[in-house]
Amino acid sequence: MSGPGTTPASSPRYVLTLETTCDETAAAVVIDVPEVISSVVASQDALHERFGGVVPEIASRAHVERILPVIDEALAKAEVSLEDLSAIAVAHTPGLAGSLLVGLVAAKSLALALDIPLIAVDHLQAHVYAGRLAARRDIYPCVGLVVSGGHTSLFRCDSPLDFVHLGSTIDDAAGEAFDKVASMLSLSYPGGPSIERAARNGDGSRYAFPRSFIDDETRLDFSFSGLKTAVRYQLVGPGHADFAELELDEQQVADLAASFQEAVVDCLVAKASLALKQAGLNTLCVGGGVAANGRLRERLADEAMQSGFELIFPPMSLCTDNAAMGAIAIERLGRGETASLELDVRPGLVREPTAPTGG
């Protein structure tokens, strides 16, 4: 394999990567340095801001309509043709079954037609790999924190492809809490950027919101549902109320946003630090859409300075869902781990039942 500074013995291997785990339809062309040659994301946030500040189009139809133009654009930007490709990679887990299927079927069709290998990508491993791409060097072993609208999880990452799950949210994901609290405050979707913006002029200590599990050193889990409910009580008290009819002054919104954001960030910083300590590791890599939050970046940078660990954040464009991070496929290709055309989607939430409780 060629690397920077060496003369490649042969031309690089091009891999097309596809990502359709949830809302975004994305494709990228990467080479085995690894390096990203082109990356295209058809995001639906801006197009589909709808009632209540929510609801991008989630139907698989949207992916079906977008996947081929997105692939064409990724190839065109990279100035390669289908015949130049050495492999097709696709994120097949976790996500929404119907959405995952669109990417998988497209990838399988291309692999079959071009007679090149198919490579399976784990979306969460790819989010951490975005940090590897940004760092342009090996970052493993590290602790990976993936924090987005759909996930809030900590992993011990022994290598790009070997993850041990350390903890997760037990109810809402952090990004989901941002979206829902933004909706309560009549702020725009997506909630991450709008809360962050509102919080800039706010007092993060004005409201004492709960920080679940923060003092419990025995677990690396998160819970943001109670925090969401606490914001609700602060706003309307018990009883049914229409948030849209609330009259809040700007300072109140700013203080609520800042206090909420501070509570989320406190939990993420505390558990990431605890995970590093417990795993005996010195590198933290953060991925996922919430990793774009400026306050989280600031607070983790402070913590890294104080505790002396190395902090890796991908650039914003690699935090939210994208196919460039599918460059992790290069690692699988290197290991010779190609997938068969029998590869199926794994939405990721079907697991074996435990013995029933209750009766």
Binding site: C22, V55, S225, L349, R351, G358
Partner: protein, 161 residues
């Protein structure tokens, strides 16, 4: 009966109601859940699904991915229509296949997709009574669900108001 009210004093009570539903609902049931953000809809599903043997850590909010499936005694399908824009978008997810399956299907934010739900179903409305207590109003649509409410009320007797 066609309507039954359960007053949950705290989250443990909400989970007890979920456990009661797990015992009372036959395979193939469909339950719609409505109530404001933070009312405890997901908590109710956690009580139901874990009683059927799903792992507690697996039962989390499906807002982002829209559908979660939990392997259990009877499979549990956990929908969340919070991000669904219209009926078409919901129907594209193939909900009828879930409704017709021998599992238990729960739909959070059901009123957003009401016209897509089976006529016969159980509707659960959650109201926030005070900071910890919740009022659950269960309405049966169809005779099958009326007997579900009868057995549920007998099972959780003494907790109802």
């Amino acid at each position: 009966m066609t309507e039954w009210t359960f007053l949950a004093a705290d989250e443990q009570d909400t989970e007890r109601l979920g456990a009661g539903l797990a015992r009372a609902l036959p395979a193939g049931s469909v339950v719609g859940l409505d109530g404001p953000l933070g009312a405890g809809k997901t908590r109710l599903v956690q009580g139901l699904a874990t009683t059927l043997g799903a792992r507690r850590e697996d039962v989390v909010s499906p807002t982002f991915v829209v559908i979660h499936e939990y392997a259990a005694e009877k499979p549990v399908y956990h929908f969340d229509a919070y991000r669904i824009a219209d009926d078409d978008e919901f129907l594209e997810l193939g909900p009828d296949e879930y409704f017709a399956s021998p599992g238990i299907t729960l739909v959070e934010w059901a009123e957003r997709v009401e016209r897509c739900l089976p006529r016969e179903r159980l509707a659960v409305r959650v109201e926030v009574a005070d900071t910890t207590s919740r009022r659950f109003t269960l309405t049966a649509f169809g005779p099958g669900y009326q007997s579900v409410l009868d057995s549920l009320a007998a099972d959780l007797d003494g907790r109802s108001t």
